[in-house]
Subunit: 556 residues, 2 copies
Amino acid sequence: MTKNQREKLSIFALGGLDEIGKNMYVVQYGHDIVVIDSGLMFPEEDMLGIDIVIPDISYLVEHQEKVRGILLTHGHEDHIGGLPYILRKINVPIYATKLTMGLVEHKLREAHLLQNTKRIVVDKHSEVRLGVFKASFFHTNHSIPDSVGVCLETPEGIVVHTGDFKFDMSPVNGNFADMHKMAEIGKKGVLCLLSDSTNAERPGFTGSERQVGEEINEIFRKARQRIIVATFASNIHRIQQVVDACHMYGRKLAVVGRSMVNVVNIASDLGYLKIPSDLIIDLDEINRLPLDQVAVISTGSQGEAMSALTRMANAAHRKVEILPGDTVIIAATPIPGNERLIGRTVDQLFRIGANVIYSTTSHVHVSGHGAQEDLKLMLNLMKPKYFIPIHGEYRMLLAHAKLAESVGVDPEHIFICENGDIVEFSDGKASFGPKVYTGKVLIDGLGIGDVGNIVLRDRKLLSQDGILVVVVTLSKANGTILSGPDIISRGFVYVRESEKLLDEANKIVYHTMERCLQEQVSEWASLKTSVRDALSKFLYEKTRRRPMILPIIMEV
Amino acid sequence: MTKNQREKLSIFALGGLDEIGKNMYVVQYGHDIVVIDSGLMFPEEDMLGIDIVIPDISYLVEHQEKVRGILLTHGHEDHIGGLPYILRKINVPIYATKLTMGLVEHKLREAHLLQNTKRIVVDKHSEVRLGVFKASFFHTNHSIPDSVGVCLETPEGIVVHTGDFKFDMSPVNGNFADMHKMAEIGKKGVLCLLSDSTNAERPGFTGSERQVGEEINEIFRKARQRIIVATFASNIHRIQQVVDACHMYGRKLAVVGRSMVNVVNIASDLGYLKIPSDLIIDLDEINRLPLDQVAVISTGSQGEAMSALTRMANAAHRKVEILPGDTVIIAATPIPGNERLIGRTVDQLFRIGANVIYSTTSHVHVSGHGAQEDLKLMLNLMKPKYFIPIHGEYRMLLAHAKLAESVGVDPEHIFICENGDIVEFSDGKASFGPKVYTGKVLIDGLGIGDVGNIVLRDRKLLSQDGILVVVVTLSKANGTILSGPDIISRGFVYVRESEKLLDEANKIVYHTMERCLQEQVSEWASLKTSVRDALSKFLYEKTRRRPMILPIIMEV
């Protein structure tokens, strides 16, 4: 920001992969910055070996004295998971509702960051001063309780960030979206609305989580043996409905999977999950009870290789054996890319003889994101002057923009932003400003950002056709070959059945080196290039593969 | 088969991955074997570097003198793509309808197998003697013309294999499914029906391809600039409808993409595609015509990286530039696993400013596989005594079995088979026989089956954390270190920024070797193990990564 831009209000997203602006939003006015959410992303298919991805926060590090705080809209990983990495770089206060803070604190405790992080729990009555900004919050419905939208009063006007939301007209636990407060904000006048675009392509209303409860009850009513329910650990409303079904049909409930146990504990402690006192049993106890008096709630609804459900399906779980006639409910839809994994788990469960109930053939899941009518309702309540669709891939932002137009937002006042695009507001007018640097940081093990394009390109190459290492020892004295060439391969061919090929390869390396040495090629770099080229050409002709070739020359 | 089993009729699948029995079915009676289809499969995510997968046909090679022929149901890759590999191992006659044979011949010509392969074109009137068997064919509807089901008269009774099918009640080109012939066969009495289970989980009828044509016409009617249609190259009915729309709305059509050009040529030559004489133009000509007089049909409906549409979307196609306001129709649904690729292509096209019409928000695709009501119609026409659901993952076979039960097939007479399961028929009774060896053969470049579990495991390892090669030269005379240790890494860390780590690693290797050499460890294997263990431990502590470590010892 240069000096004469200081009096503008700037809004922009840091990070986000395909999904633009999902994980971190920045609002700045002069010397004050407020950050909304600090999520992580999961790696894309071509990010081999990468564990997670976080936004590049160079901009915030550079301006850290201006950052007044991070406001969190809800407790999902893609909104809070980046905190342990980000707080190590910039130590700023965190504002979140009770459950969200409970989940964040668990995370910070594991990262030894709890003590040094200032944490402020907020609710719908809170008004928080953050430099020139004043933040307040309104409750929304989402697939995790205690989700809020943020209302930010700025010198240029009110900015509203919805977080992830839908309107659930019959919410579990009776926590309605705070439409009255939204209406009030809208009445005051909203300069700019930032709203969740995830389901902007879907017509209609998303529907109530209670529909899932009704399905679950119906399944519990009919089941004569054990019931295993797999769902997202953070979907506490759904867990509550499973608890209620257990209570109604006289079953005890065992909780399986590290994240499920963790969330159930935190949510119960904080009062977001109401569990009758003797309903939960230890997993070790399930075999002592009749089959029709037990239910299990578990992780693994995405078919993850090491998850509890997947192990059960492969008869590899230490404590839970699924029997023919048991009922398994997979209360989730596949996250794109997980279809085959889930399909395999379902197939394995059917092979055991379980009665599997899953999203293709049943209604055991509803989305936590509003569809087109939800989104129009939000737009109509807020009546924003300007609109920035957020949280979605480009086509979803575009679909959301069309919805906004359809309810009367001036198309000139809609800004479709890529990551790093800045929308600047000055004297009630908005325009695109200069771009801010943004990017993604790949985390692999303990390494933060040390794996970049070159390493990923090598992993990709290695994964396709493997590697051949060619080693030779030369005499320092006269440059003759003292030992080797030896060829060692991994991931290229099955060596025992390819001796002839590798012998020929060896000869080619030998002759190439001899020729180079005779021609007095003394630069090792050109020697290596000659070996690599000759070997590569030979192997491609013989196998149509292009393994990585790594020539190593030793000298004694 | 042992001697006393000879007089049984055996039916079993060879190959198929998740999708059981999709790619190759075997029917045997004593000394006569008939094969139905010879498909290839596409590799699963964990088959790194693999190009395609074919069934292991050891059984057929072993009994090749009994194989009377391969009957092909239709011209899709997953039903004919394995032929070039299989015909190299067993030279047997091929029976197919005209269009299917046209596509097969193109394939065999490329593989230099055309001249030595006996090819017999069949139609709905054909009756083919194959040892004790008599085969005839009935027309079905599918997403490629000239698809047939097979009716095989055997000494034990009639076996029917549907191929892939649906019932299209208003087919493009008027080629109705031959329900009269199916009814006749059913009336004669069917011993066993093998039927396509792909859409057995979907309620209702699949619907007519003509619906897609209506959508396409509507889009053509409205478009004011160029129209680009991407679809599967083999979907000739859909291509026909695009041709018809061009004719109706006064547009010329350019064909893009190698497989699209190829299929259009074959299908036109054989009369399956009717194109007005001056409608097709060369791609070079499109810029000479007004925007509203041009359409392009292209490959790339799955977002494949190198496809024509993807290149257009990335503004990287040499001849077609998509302009703001152009219309792009992606007339396909994502094959599971391709969602993100297609999503990215759609996003890129929207970024250019194109009007993109795709399956999420429009009805520009219908499946070629029958849904539950189609499947029940087939079952009701055939009234089989025994039923084997085929072509589908386990849960789909199970869903299909339930449908069969619901229309009156005795549940004891339904056989859900895994690959290699044999169903044997003797005296009108069926039972599971001994398993036949089956498996998959992975093809990587020119290598057929030389990449197995070890190579794949190495590729997986390499793809996750890369490799470290440790080289050292020892003196033959006294075992001292003459050169090295040198460490070379690929795909592990960005070397320039990790010098300290690699220096420390080097020291650890050096000290480990020195200690071993002092302790007179002379076995290289244990020397290597010590180095690998020490280095692995160090790197895991420092990085939480487990790269492959390859110690190499040279001796001079």
